[in-house]
């Protein structure tokens, strides 16, 4: 049995293996639009290492968090932007 944590993504419960980043969790949950560019394009992770800012989401109410640098924690609430 693997150790799992449950987070909430746009109001929906998502269960992932412990140690999974929010970026990986969202992609597995089928999220394609992490945030939108100034021109309104849907954007999703590019660099995977905290540089491009394309994976920004709102985590526990704080906007602009980098999903690829944030590890899922029990009860975490994630909202796409």
């Amino acid at each position: 049995m693997t150790d799992t944590v449950e987070i909430t993504v746009n109001g929906r419960a998502v269960k992932v293996e412990r140690g999974t980043t929010v970026a990986a969790a969202l992609l597995m949950a089928g999220i394609t639009a992490f945030h939108h560019s100034p021109g309104g394009e849907a954007r999703a992770p590019l660099c995977g290492m905290g540089i491009c800012f394309e994976c920004q989401v709102t985590v526990n109410g704080e906007a602009g968090c980098l999903a690829c640098q944030t590890v899922c924690a029990k009860g975490m609430t994630v909202v796409t932007q």
């Binding site: 980043t21 992609l27 597995m28 992770p45 590019l46 995977g48 290492m49 540089i51 800012f53």
Partner: protein, 423 residues
């Protein structure tokens, strides 16, 4: 929310191979070493997540464990006061730290070079290394169809990981000519360990189509990627896929070094034989000092660590090994040099600066990087030009503007944190 002040003898920035090696070597003589990194766990990009993937990484994680430097993770360096030999870091939960050092070792690594082409902003288009990072941080790719395109051995390393995780790698498109790749392969004979690794890798990837002289020229899909257009010396075809992992080599991450006043160039941070930068007491090792792979990073890290701790003879003992590893880096660069045709991948309508949605045509008739920033907003977004900078440099030959703090978007509360304590 808290602010702490830390004093250390030797501060290592970056916990990838170069940083781990530097911290270990610096600690051998008993110096007080602190290591700071922006990831939750050590390992950098290549050994992400502190999970040993081979004998080499297992050995170095063991050494890190034994050396036991003070480790600060999930921290970003946002500004520097070189005169006071202090860096300011932003930590999670609105916390901050001012870290004072006697000697500083920069092991800030590298990032991928992205080239803009139609459709590259679609969800599903990821950096090759980016995809590797996502998979290592939990992304399940079983059964996913993946195209890897760009240049360099990273594509093969990523393919190997994806294969192991049961993804369906449908194509590896390498822009370099087959002859150059072959020559590079033969040169590996000079470093037997690498040759053996390469041969084993080749065997594992035998079933994956590997095309040279080949690149992805556009991506298509409704809301997310489902197809790429591939070009191989004029022959074009379409490939359906769930992910495109793309990357055209690596770019040294030199921003912190530049902020500290160290001389930097397109090849990375300039260093002397002891890996010392042009600023006394500041060393640089690994990809930030020139792209060359994990073995170069490890040996440079140790040299920098020994040198910073004052053990120059231990550092000198590693010079021959370093020379060999640097040669490998130069061969790598020559073999995977980017072809001119790639410049025409970017159409006038292609978004170049993703943060601000600036298109190539918006840069027409502008007068260099600074003019582009002022007049088109190119490079003015949150990534501060880290993605579009190298792309625009390749497309237009414009060199990035000077580095100023903050190095990353930073809470204003963080920017004033240390002066609050000691105004």
């Amino acid at each position: 929310m808290s602010h702490q002040r830390i004093k250390t003898s030797i501060l290592v920035v970056g916990a990838g191979p170069a940083g781990i090696s530097a911290a270990w070597a610096a600690g051998e003589g008993g110096a007080r070493v602190t290591m700071i990194d922006n990831n939750p766990l050590p390992g950098g990009q290549i050994w992400r997540g502190a999970k040993p993937s081979d004998r080499q990484s297992a050995q170095w994680f063991e050494r890190l464990e034994k050396a036991a430097p003070t480790r600060i993770h999930s921290a970003r360096i946002v500004s520097a006061d070189p005169g006071a030999r202090t860096l300011l870091a932003e930590l999670p939960n609105e916390s901050t730290a001012a870290i004072a050092y006697d000697r500083l070792i920069l092991a800030t690594g590298a990032r991928e070079r992205f080239l803009p082409f139609p459709g590259w902003t679609l969800p599903g288009v990821v950096g090759a290394g980016g995809l590797q990072a996502l998979v290592k941080s939990g992304l399940d790719v079983r059964g996913k169809r993946v195209v890897l395109a760009g240049s360099g051995p990273l594509l093969l390393a990523v393919a190997d990981l994806l294969r192991e995780r049961e993804a369906n790698v449908v194509l590896i498109a390498e822009q370099a000519p087959g002859a150059a790749v072959l020559r590079f392969g033969l040169k590996l004979a000079a470093t037997p360990g690498k040759l053996w690794q390469a041969a084993a890798l080749r065997a594992r990837l035998a079933t994956i189509p590997y095309q040279t002289n080949c690149w992805v020229e556009s991506c298509h899909g409704d809301g997310r990627l489902n197809e790429v257009n591939v070009n191989q010396s004029g022959r074009r075809w379409k490939v359906e896929c769930d992910y495109l992992g793309t990357g055209y080599g690596l770019v040294p991450s030199t921003e912190l070094a530049a902020l500290l006043g160290c001389e930097t160039g397109a090849d990375g941070v300039a260093v002397d034989e002891m890996q010392q930068t042009t600023v006394e007491g500041v060393y640089c090792a690994g990809e930030a000092a020139g792209i060359g792979g994990v073995d170069k990073s490890l040996v440079e890290g140790s040299i920098a660590g020994y040198a910073a701790a004052g053990d120059e003879s231990a550092a000198r003992a590693l010079f021959d090994d370093r020379a060999r590893q640097r040669r490998f880096g130069r061969d790598l660069e020559a073999a995977f040099a980017l072809r001119d045709e790639l410049r025409s991948l970017t159409t006038p309508e292609t978004i170049v600066c993703r943060c601000e949605d600036v298109r190539l045509s918006d840069l027409d008739s502008l007068d260099g990087w600074r003019d582009a920033k002022l007049q088109s907003r190119c490079g003015m977004g949150r990534c501060q030009g880290r993605v579009c900078g190298p792309a625009v440099e390749f497309l237009k030959g414009w060199h990035p503007a000077a580095v100023r703090p903050p190095l990353f978007p930073t809470r204003i509360g963080t920017m004033i944190a240390d002066d609050e304590v000691n105004p």
